[in-house]
């Protein structure tokens, strides 16, 4: 088997196509943040627990620190920067602001991606469903109270 140390990959992120040569061990989050300069997705841990780096890869919610960049070759990726269109916030983003669902804003991009993924498959989630959907995202500021409220409001 050939050992691949570097590879050229193509990804589409928020509708834009990118081609980059990356080290095989490069994490997807580092590709997104460092190589593509899309710094909205964040890093809060080394172990896949915090969810600050959550993005959608081909529509599937992924913690991008748990995936190698080369594994994302040929995929369509959505990050927080792709949510608003022409400066128009999504209902979920607006609800986060209206309900004070963010303080420092560090977990927010990942939280928004998890909630976006939820609302795409479940238009009217119950509170337990919302809490389950964001259980992989750690927030240290809000105690989740207003985040849950915001997701509920966005669903309505």
């Amino acid at each position: 088997m050939e050992v691949v140390a570097r590879k050229t990959i193509e990804v589409e992120v928020n509708g834009e196509s990118y081609e980059r040569e990356v080290e095989a061990r490069r994490l997807l989050i580092h590709l997104i943040r460092d190589d593509l300069d899309l710094t909205g997705s964040h890093i809060g841990c080394d172990t896949g627990n915090c969810g600050a780096c959550s993005v959608l890869v081909d529509g599937v919610l992924v913690k991008s620190c748990m995936m190698l960049a080369i594994q994302a070759d040929g995929t369509k990726i959505e990050t927080v920067e792709g949510l608003a269109r022409d400066g128009e916030l999504t209902a979920l983003q607006q609800a986060f602001s209206d309900h004070h669902a963010l303080q420092c804003g560090y977990c927010t991009p990942g939280m928004l991606m998890s909630a976006t993924a939820l609302l795409r498959v479940n238009k009217h989630p119950s509170e337990p469903e919302i809490r389950k959907a964001i259980q992989g995202n750690i927030c240290r500021c809000t105690g989740y109270v207003n985040i849950v409220e915001a997701v509920k409001a966005a669903a309505e």
Binding site: T39, D46, T47, Q103, C104, G105, Y106, R131, V148
Partner: protein, 827 residues
Amino acid sequence: MTETTVSPERALVVEEGGEAQRGFIGTNVPRKEDKRLVQGEGVFFDDVKRHEMGFVYFVRSPYAHARIKSVDVAKALELDGVYGTLTGDEVAILTDPFFELSTPPGAHIKDYALAVGKVRHVGDPVAAVVARTRELARDAAELVEVEYEPLPLVLDAEEALKDDVILHEDAASNTVWSGVFDWGDFDAALSEADHVVRIERLHFDRFSSTPLECSGCVVEFNRGTGQWTIHGNHQMPGIGAIWMAPALRVGIDKLRFVSQDIGGGFGNKITLHPQYTACCLLARKLNRPVQWTEWRTDQHTANTHGNERTFLDVTVPVKADGTMLGFSVRALDDCGAFPRYEPLGCIIWAQVTPGCYRWRNVRVDFTQVCTNKSPVAPNRGYSRMQHLWLTERIVDIVSHELGLDPIEVRKKNYVKHEEFPYETPNGCIYDSGDYARCLDIALDLIGYSSLEEKRRDAESRGKLFGIGIGSTLDSGTNNFGQSMILNPELQFSGNNEVATVKLDIFGEVVVTLGTVPQGQGHETTSAQVVADILGCTPDDINVRAGHDTYWNSTAGFSGTYASQFAVTGLGAVKGAADKLAVEMKQLAAAVFGCSPDDIELAESQARIKANPEAALPFMALGAILNANNAGLPPELDVTLNVRHVYRPPFEKPDLERKYGNLTLTYATQIHACALEIDPETGVYEVVDYAAVDDCGNRIHPQIVEGQVHGATAHALGAATHEIFTYDEEGNLLTPNFYDYHVPHALDMPPIKTGFIESASPFTPLGAKGMGEGGGAGIHAVCAALQNALGRRGEGPIVWRSCNPSQGVWELLQSPEKTRKLVSVESR
């Protein structure tokens, strides 16, 4: 689920021209910060990139205590893409040790940016490597060869006191600082008592609020000017610069701290000066920008934890009716390997000496020691939280032992509403409040009247049911004079904060803060205050995001810490806006040829009160002064760019008596918790929870409530599972979010919130700092566990702050083990 009780709303008015109008203060205006943050357009330090910057990785000690025999970086330097290294030996030549706050022995500790000669905790940095990529820097760090000679270690504070193993030979003792605080007449109180309750031992466990964004910086060195720019997330750059500049042997203005958005701080980002100093040295040595992003494991292992404190020989004189006369205690604080900011924690608890209670006789024998564990730093509720946990455990254990109702005992002993402003035995002035009313609201929220019904219901399901209260004070706006109680040589006292407000050429109002926000909404609340004063809307105000030392809007104590923005930060903003309003009226009066008294500011205009048609929009004022000023009277002394330094009214404390007002405001948080325990397993669940806050006038109620939620979550995590534990070799067993479980969305119980507003008579806006909450949730959970586990002198004693289910199971299995910690002498 969140429920808010609504207290009678105070009139929100702005007096303008004798006419009352509703202002923005006290309303939930949309947060200015949100639009960028929900779109991923915030700028955190790790988002800052510089051409050809190198990535820093610290080589860290695998030993808790060892002599460094050699450090060899040769193999690392051979790796392609490695830019350079830094070792402890270089640091010892290029810098002086950071200054120590304590008197001897702590004063003699030598603390550098990297370990020099010895390592003192697992994770202590011994060298740094800089390379082209993050991954390469980590590879290169693996190639640094360090030879260690392991030494005996000490992890327990009481063992450390014996000085059998000494961390800092220069200090010749593990004791950093010790002192006796003695107020009132404790011996007389003892002889007056009907009961004396003694508690042999209580222990406040080690944890940290673990901000989601780890620490870090991008440092650039300007060779021409010798100036460093540090794009980082230090939350108290003023004190950072005071530490770093002398160590680097440069003037303080050579250090420029810049931050825009910070991903939480909670105090954990106050002692970043060692790592920042290493990065400054590297940027200079390698002549390139360097970037350091701390890994989560490094943050848990080697950045900062909250104080761990053991309370020994607690003695409480009690009257027959449940009135407590005070307490005495030996407090032993474990600050880990280096004290850094920490000796201040030896004093800061004294801000809340008697807790919420009318206790007049208090004796505290306080000692702080070093151990071979991670250093500690301020952590949300800093030092007062540990002390308030003690006062709350005292109330609950005394009630438990004497068969009294802890709620009635609290009400009997609380400082009464009519006693404010209330002077504590050590001279602190509690400004305002109504603790009993807050408690009633909390009880009401959790349905206290149906308590017995709930208890019977739980018991019918085989569960143990408990209810507990946590009463706390969030003392805010420090008088730094308290540091002189620690060390009379320190030249710190009072406090200050800065804001500048200007009216720019196109009529834009620009506000620049000295604070370093980490999510507290400073841009929003500042705009509310300025809008009310200048007669415009928050949308008309541009509050610059973040902090920059070179904005000339900072003072010695600038930063965001210790629950003070609503007082110091907004006090500065108000002062500057008031001054600008005067200048705008003066300018308009000069243009109209009338008296400034004839001018009012309203609807984004300066206009003649008697003839509102005669109006100058802000844009005209800005343009006239800045670009079209010919013909203005020469004596008109306005700049439309004003700086105000808010300085709270403080005196230096009486050092002999350790007496004086140590903080300006005292916000209240009273929490009530109901829980059910499965006696078979010790697993318990919080089934009802209420938090009632009184922080005086609320500038932005939604932000206040958000802080209450967050502080509650931190406290519930700390009460139930967040704990830093070590193995016998000094390895941290909870070095990441995998092992250190912080509350997730499914862990949080429903939180009900309530509030009252007792305006502070001492602050510019009647507001009080409130972000820390005093750890009320920890106290409430401990109290509820105590209540569930047994009553009237029976059952185990909840003696630790962190009680995971395993711990509760052990308490249930062997109640006699903790029962013997308590004794009652009745006369």
